[in-house]
């Protein structure tokens, strides 16, 4: 098969990886948009969400395989999402909210502390051995004109697309979604409209954390789950959010997908050694910060008068 098939192969792999980054990046960007603060515990919320999803699936899927297994899979994903949403809101309430009027560095340090607590608690409770979601379905690739696509990839892409479309519709059309945008644009004026900023912030954390849990569950399916999994994944998704323009929802989606493609094509076509794959994201970050510091879709911050 020629290089065109190879190109589409990498495109497919890159999109899958990028979709996962994008889901995580959304949480960083939404929280930043409203609080101007980076939630460094976001990657660990993802980790907890993937463990919960994995445990739930193991508990409910039963012995025999059948239509129930598919339903159980999505129930498990939902369980991870709900748990993480609650966790995200609790963290905000306990570790960030009391510091809302303190110096900007304080919540950042608090977030790093929460990150350590979560990953160490996970190691303590669930061990450091990595696990993989024991997915019972056949994952042998389907060949389409020389491009191999695994059912997992299709599942991941489908979930990513559904989540992104749902989020976009929610933020653009719904009353609460519009209030989220208003709060992120100008918190004081949003309050003047009668919007409860605290409630909007809590919802933002819930949604961002649920998306991270979804991403974590998809990672569990394709790669593996371990207590420190959130660190590098989270860091790279954060880079994706900055590359796309932090605070901008479409930017996070674009940045995530772009980063997935860059990593895949960087290794495959540019011959970057696989071991250096993780550096691609940070090189991309440096380049973006030099050329367009506000990110691809970000707007240059105007001086406030």
């Amino acid at each position: 098969m020629g290089s065109i098939a190879e190109f589409f192969q990498h495109l497919m792999n890159g999109l899958t990886l990028g979709g996962i980054y994008a889901l995580i990046a959304l949480g960083y960007t939404m929280v930043y948009g409203i609080l101007k603060f980076i939630n460094f515990a976001h990657g660990d919320i993802l980790m907890v969400g993937s463990y919960i999803g994995l445990f739930t699936f193991d508990a409910i899927r039963g012995q025999t395989m059948g239509p129930w297994t598919v339903i159980a899979f999505f129930i498990a994903m939902l369980a991870g999402m709900l748990f993480s949403a609650g966790l995200g809101m609790a963290i905000e309430r306990i570790a960030y909210k009391p510091l809302r009027r303190a110096t900007r560095l304080a919540p950042l340090l608090s977030a790093i502390g929460v990150s350590f607590i979560l990953s160490n608690m996970a190691a303590w409770m669930w061990g450091t051995k990595s696990r993989k979601l024991d997915y019972p379905f056949d994952n042998s690739p389907i060949y389409l004109k020389g491009v191999s696509i695994t059912p997992h990839q299709i599942l991941i892409l489908a979930v990513v697309i559904v989540m992104m479309v749902a989020l976009k519709l929610f933020v653009d059309r719904s009353r609460i979604g519009k209030a989220m945008r208003a709060t992120s644009l100008d918190q004081d004026t949003a309050k003047l409209m009668g919007i409860k900023a605290d409630k909007i912030i809590a919802i933002t954390f819930a949604i961002g954390s649920a998306l991270a849990a979804t991403a974590g569950f998809l990672i569990a399916l394709e790669i593996k789950v371990y207590p420190s999994m959130g660190t590098m994944t989270g860091l790279k998704a954060f880079v994706a959010a900055v590359v796309g323009g932090i605070g901008n929802i479409s930017g996070a989606m674009l940045g995530g997908i772009l980063l997935g493609l860059l990593e895949t094509f960087g290794v495959a076509l540019l011959g970057i050694p696989y071991g250096l794959r993780d550096t691609i994201a940070f090189v991309a970050l440096i380049i973006i910060l030099l050329v367009k510091p506000e990110g691809l879709l970000g707007k240059a911050e105007k001086e406030k008068v």
Binding site: R175, R181, K191, L192
Partner: protein, 262 residues
Amino acid sequence: MSKLLDIDSISVSYGSIKALREVSLHVNEGEIVCLIGANGAGKSTLLKAIVALEPITHGSIAYQGQMIAQIDENGAKKKFGVPIRRSKGLSSNLRTDEIAGRGVALVPEGRRVFADMTVEENLDMGAFLVRDDELIARKKEEMYDFFPILGARRKQKTRSLSGGEQQMLAIARALMSSPRLLLLDEPGLGLAPLIIQDIFEKIHIINREDKVTVFLVEQNASIALKASNRGYVMENGVIVLSDFSTNLLENEKVRAAYLGDS
């Protein structure tokens, strides 16, 4: 006439600087009252204090006869080195969104429209507390009739509007909640004289026909006094004069300091 807004001896501080010092004033139901004063006199701070965007350190604010903010003699308590607005015994202090819910709408200084949202979405935000979709749709049509230029631009992003159009949008957005008290912070700032005139005419119509009480803050003393029933003059965070606007227009001190007469 009953007092809709009654401010009793409030102070606001920024660190060690006292922006407002024991300011008292009131606005009666149905009036247009203006507050004039030089740049930096504390006018905007007063409006922010009314809607709890600035915490008061002394005094009390009553709206419709109910306390919305009140500070005891000890002043605000502190937590993590940061003053907190709510502490034991002060739980009557309302938050900004709660005050908005009682029917107080502020058109902030510099318009502060949501720039990345369309004209229509800005109006939707103004009606955030209105849960009746039909009423919101009707209100929006009313606003488009009242400010035709907004109707023509309803799907446009707000950042593309001119200063005057943004001011009209900011007023329309405030009216979406059908407020009883409309607070306006420098509605004429940076606008051409003809547009200022237009905006003040609208304010009059809002006051007369919709029975909305108006309290406005202006640097442009002449237009503010001509548009209002009563006026207050603020200097360095203190009210130095208060009278009917017609009298203030004749007052020598006001004429010399704010109306450009020598």
